[in-house]
């Protein structure tokens, strides 16, 4: 149980208003494109129109002659500095600017620097590139065919295979399938999509020749890790690199990788000695920066006739594009996809993934997702529904029958994870009650008699977030701990700095609430700073729902270190023994004599003015937190849809999300995150795909074709919660930002399939655009 502080203190559980909002509602945020430095110039990338082509020549003379142009950098120029290639986060490498050939449409070919944006754009048009087209590989299923074009001629391995990864007991699983009474199978494609935060990526690189210091303002979800990458790749002394991640206009995983534009701006600033700004356009953002998903998945469940699940078998083909730039922990080429057993108590499971190259933009980033958890949750929740159809069983009943029982936690899953805590049945019961499930099923039956199409979709997902324990998790060798530093000022106010970086999650408010909870200093008196590598302690950044599980834990532990010292000071001030003191948020008092007390503010002042003899002055602490395990948030989502038989249009009538993310810091912020994640899930389920035609031309490369839902398409979201704290987290929290995006796609698709199931439909791939449903209705003779 978390002791609830007063509203004035505003610790955990208070929906206090966000501190950051005051500047944002006045237009006083400071995003990267708002950074303006004296003498600053602008960079523009030249990109390839072809998906696969030899570079015959790159002629920059005309561009260089344009008045106002300062430099044009090509791949050959970078090669001289050994910078034409850079490492990706997945032990592959990626071209910064192309040399030899291009491997995807919109690949970076040259970087033009000019005195202003418009001149840079003009000059980019003047760069003449001669290409010789090569055969294009778009279909990942053909990547390993003997006649497939070889994409990565730079590799020693002369095929398009990146990795094979498997986990679980193949033999035992196969044996169960051979004897299984009932089998269910689904081929489900999770389409390539893009996080598309409203602010695109960009930076201002500022190399000061006089001091030798390079300051990079950049859209970075992981500023410290990026500083280290720049030091290792660029050979610059790390103390001379300062990464500043200012206000970030949404990230969702898009701002985790290092992109060629950043590197080019840095090289240009090093070369010219002036600040260089590079801001990508929306089209560049969608066409070249980290995509997500693109998993071609097959899942099978073996069960007995009663619906008791016995084994899960998963086979996946992963399309990684031209370079394996997946952002994920080193030891996990398919991320945490092996969470695919989900909420169910499978005795056996086996999962294998093969990654291949295609002529598409590189990536495989964790889009509002803890490294492929979204793909895994979608797959298991889809195949469970297919099994329900095979068994002619209610999908809620089938889930309940197979949930990992609450008594079995901590639960060791067959693919290796140890789930920390859960009560799946409680979350589902609440969801079914709240939405009125039996009544909805009755309404559906009546509607079917009348020929109307209504569907109910359930998704009872389990997430795995908060990477992670250092013994298992690292990125490029750097362990995935995170950090917090708290300093208490003499007047009892505080400043905290973390290794994470908010992109809209409200860290300035929620971290302050953790300090308020632990020390009783009002959240209003605690300022939070992130994103400046010169001042904040080292950390791996914000993605994979890791801020609260890791940096939040560090914040609590650092605060407790301060409390320990504060206790000694209080004992000194009250002239008593430490052991005679009791704590309540905000003060120490003598046991049995509550009037004999010292507030944390009085103690803070004494830490600088009247400390005990021999005690080090000051009141501050830092903590680098290495979590003992991941956290496993979960929930049950229920979606109700009506389908227009004439147009195939799906209308989401109701959507209820019951989430369990353990103890909550700020309920208002949690609910806001859920609304946002559900809206992104809606977009993925019904609207969005980055597709390619047979020549490798990107479809969905601008907001003309890559649709974001407006307020009109977005339904009213209903929410609910249960609370199963994480037993290993210092204040029992689990993280929540990604749950709605992880759990919702299956609920949407299950609802649509449920509406059509009586017609024999078992699966429809996302995005479920009206034409797809209309086609099904045509085929099934529902409309003529």
């Amino acid at each position: 149980m978390i002791h609830k502080t007063s509203p004035e203190i505003g610790g955990m559980g208070h929906s206090i208003k966000r501190k950051e909002d005051l500047r944002f509602v006045q237009g006083k945020g400071n995003y990267v494109d708002d950074v303006h430095l004296p003498g600053m110039v602008y960079g523009q990338l030249v990109r390839s129109p072809y998906a696969h082509a030899r570079l015959k020549s790159v002629n920059v003379e005309a561009a260089k002659k344009l008045p106002g142009v300062l430099a044009v950098i090509t791949g050959e120029d970078l090669a001289k500095a050994n910078l034409a290639w850079m490492p990706t986060l997945s032990y592959d490498k990626q071209m910064v600017l192309a040399t030899g050939k291009v491997l995807f449409q919109s690949q970076e070919v040259a970087f033009v620097v000019a005195e202003d944006r418009y001149t840079a754009a003009d000059a980019a048009e003047l760069v003449e590139v001669e290409y010789e087209e090569l055969p294009v590989l778009v279909d990942p299923h053909k990547a390993l065919d003997p006649g497939a074009p070889l994409l990565r001629e730079d590799r020693e391995q002369k095929d398009n295979h990146i990795f094979h990864w498997e986990v679980g007991d193949r033999q035992a699983t196969d044996q169960i399938f051979q004897k299984a009474e009932v089998k269910a199978k689904v081929n489900a494609f999770f389409p390539r999509c893009h996080p598309a935060p409203l602010e695109t990526c960009g930076c201002v690189a500022d190399f000061n020749r006089a001091t030798g210091k390079l300051t990079i303002y950049m859209t970075s979800q992981a500023p410290h890790a990026h500083r280290t990458v720049f030091a290792l790749v660029g050979g610059l002394p790390e103390q001379n690199i300062r990464v500043i991640s200012p206000d970030i206009g949404g990230g969702f995983g898009n701002k985790v990788p290092v992109y060629p534009g950043y590197v080019c701006a840095i090289v240009a600033s090093l070369t010219l000695g002036v600040p260089v700004k590079w801001i990508e356009t929306r089209s560049e953002n969608l066409q070249s920066t980290g995509f997500a998903r693109d998993y071609h998945m097959t899942a099978e469940i073996a069960s007995d006739k009663s619906g008791k699940m016995q084994a899960l078998r998963v086979k996946t083909l992963a399309d990684h594009g031209a370079f394996n730039a997946a952002a994920q922990p080193t030891k996990f080429p398919a991320g945490l996809f092996s969470i695919c057993t989900g909420s169910y108590d499978f005795p056996n499971a086996f999962c294998e993934v093969d990654g291949v190259y295609t002529n598409k933009a590189p990536g495989g980033i964790a889009y509002r997702c803890s490294f492929r958890v979204t793909e895994a949750a979608y797959l298991i929740e889809r195949v469970v529904d297919v099994l329900a159809l095979e068994l002619k069983m209610d999908p809620a009943e089938l889930r309940r029958k197979n949930f990992i029982p609450a008594a079995k936690f901590p639960y060791k899953a067959p693919l290796g994870w140890t789930y920390d805590s859960g009560d799946y049945e409680a979350a589902m019961k609440l969801a079914l009650d709240k939405i009125g499930y039996p009544q909805l099923r009755q309404e559906q039956a009546e509607k079917r008699k009348k020929g109307e199409l209504m569907g109910i979709g359930i998704s009872s997902f389990t997430e795995i977030v908060g990477a992670g324990p250092a013994h298992t998790f690292d990125i490029l060798g750097i362990k995935m701990f995170d950090s917090a530093e708290i300093r208490i000022h003499p007047t009892g106010k505080a400043i905290c700095r973390m290794g994470t970086k908010s992109q809209g999650q409200g860290h300035e408010t929620t971290y302050a609430q953790i300090v308020a909870q632990e020390l009783g200093i009002p959240a209003a008196d605690v300022s939070v700073e992130e994103g400046d590598t010169d001042t904040a302690p080292y950390g791996l950044g914000t993605y994979a729902s890791r801020s609260t599980p890791v940096s939040g834990a560090a914040t609590a532990i650092a605060a407790r270190k301060i409390r320990d010292k504060a206790k000694k000071i209080a004992a000194h001030l009250l002239e008593c023994n430490e052991n005679d003191l009791e704590w309540e948020p905000g003060k120490f008092y003598v046991k049995g004599a509550p009037s004999k007390a010292k507030t944390i503010q009085e103690i803070a002042f004494a830490a600088y003015t009247n400390m005990p003899a021999g005690m080090e002055p000051g009141l501050e602490a830092v903590d680098y937190y290495d979590p003992p395990n991941l956290t496993f948030p979960f929930g049950t989502y229920i979606c109700v849809v009506d389908i227009d038989k004439g147009t195939g249009e799906v209308k989401v009538r109701r959507f209820l999300a019951v989430d369990d993310c353990g103890n909550i810091i700020n309920p208002m912020i949690v609910e806001g995150q859920i609304h946002g994640g559900l809206t992104e899930g809606l977009a993925i389920a019904f609207m969005q795909q980055i597709d390619y035609d047979e020549s490798g031309n990107v479809q969905g490369g601008s907001f003309m074709d890559y649709l974001l839902p407006t307020a009109v398409e977005t339904p009213h979201w209903e929410t609910g919660k249960t609370c199963t704290p994480s037993p290993h987290h210092p204040f029992g929290a689990k993280g929540v930002g990604e749950s709605p995006n992880v759990g919702s796609p299956a609920a949407f698709v299950n609802a649509v399939v449920d509406a059509l199931a009586h017609l024999g439909v078992k699966h429809i791939d996302m995005p479920i655009a009206p034409w797809k449903v209309w086609k099904v209705l045509q085929e099934k003779g529902v409309v003529s």
Partner: protein, 171 residues
């Protein structure tokens, strides 16, 4: 480079004048010439609405106009919403109702909502959803933005004379 043109505008009540290239977009004029960076750029196809401002009382996507087209006009940007240190009820509403997360769409949302309330002081939820449908938000799912606009509508209705700014509010 084409001959520069003089552009004179009244922005948030102040007269401003500059010589600009005829092709300069209004949004770049606002952000880089007038140095009012609250107006944002989120796309290159006029879909996102992050650049929404009021020009002569009407919402425009400032990425889709040239600065020269605004010559002689009155512009209201997010920086002009605050009056005498008091947040506009819409700004207050977005803060109170958690109508923003990353804040990038917020200035455009505020201006579209401002325009909506001028024409429809008591909007229904559907009116609000349509009123902000030219503005994309990637974080909030819109629900709390709707509540923020309702908050502002309620607050403005309590006042005898709504303290809407007059510049940029012409018919």
């Amino acid at each position: 480079m084409a001959r520069k043109q003089s552009v004179r505008v009244k922005v948030n009540g102040k007269e401003r004048q500059a010589e600009v290239e005829p092709r300069l977009l209004l949004v770049h004029f606002i952000r880089e010439v007038l140095e009012l960076t609250g107006t944002h750029i989120g796309c290159d196809t006029s879909h996102c609405g992050a650049c929404t401002v009021l020009l002569n009382g009407k919402t425009v996507k400032s990425c889709t106009l040239f600065a020269v087209q605004a010559d002689g006009g009155e512009i209201l940007t997010v920086e002009g919403l605050i009056k005498d240190g008091q947040l506009h009820p819409l700004q207050e509403g977005f803060k109170e109702e958690h109508g923003l997360q990353c804040g990038f769409c917020t200035p455009g949302m505020l201006l579209s909502s401002y325009s909506l309330l001028q024409h429809n002081p008591n909007p229904s939820e559907q009116d609000i959803r349509w009123g902000i449908s030219g503005n994309l938000c990637r974080c909030t799912g819109y629900q709390n933005i709707v509540r923020a606009v309702q908050f502002a509508a309620g607050k403005l209705a309590q006042k005898p004379a709504p303290e809407m700014t007059t510049q940029g509010a012409a018919k």
